[in-house]
Amino acid sequence: MTMLEMAAGLLMALAVLLGLVRLVIGPAAPDRLVAADTLAMITTVALTGFAVWFDSKLYLDVALIYGTLAFVGIVAIARAIEGSYS
């Protein structure tokens, strides 16, 4: 593992931390929803990074399924917020 790959992994970990901070302190439900959306995106990218790290092709399938389920969940919560505020 080279220096640049270690820096990339560190940046991904910091990104997850910052997203979690926004997820915890977000003032209302929409802020938390947006934070969850971005966190799902970051997790999909990090899972493909795990595929390289552990040298296993299986993690690419995991990333694809995770992205699908996260998209469905985000859209469902968005529709719930759309109905609840009005």
Partner: protein, 111 residues
């Protein structure tokens, strides 16, 4: 070749980190949607290009994941923005007093 792949991986991770930083720093929900979607999509694509250079026999699955992200991420963010707009979340405005203070600070800096 390894260095090129590592540069792509680092660029992707950097843009993903900037997306998370913008998520923390932006003042409004709509700004956060915008920065989270655009920067994270660019970072993901750079990351996938780097992995494709590193492991050339994985390109088919990487293209599938990249196409999926390009398809669903804008749809998801526009769904969130539409839901918030219908639910009546107000966009963020700079108040008039604060805007004038910013302008005077800039002119003082320039002179």
């Amino acid at each position: 070749m390894r260095l090129l792949a590592d540069l792509f991986l680092f660029t992707g991770a950097l843009f993903t980190f900037l997306a998370a930083l913008g998520l923390l720093r932006m003042p409004d929900v709509y700004n956060r949607i915008q920065v989270g979607t655009k920067a994270a999509t660019l970072g993901a694509l750079c990351f996938f290009i780097g992995i494709g250079i590193l492991h050339p026999d994985w390109w088919l699955k990487l293209v599938v994941i990249a196409g999926f992200i390009l398809l669903t991420n804008p749809v998801g963010s526009s769904t969130i923005a539409r839901a918030l707009y219908i639910a009546g979340v107000k966009p963020w405005h700079v108040s008039k007093q604060k805007a004038s203070r910013v302008i005077t600070a800039e002119t003082r800096e320039g002179s």
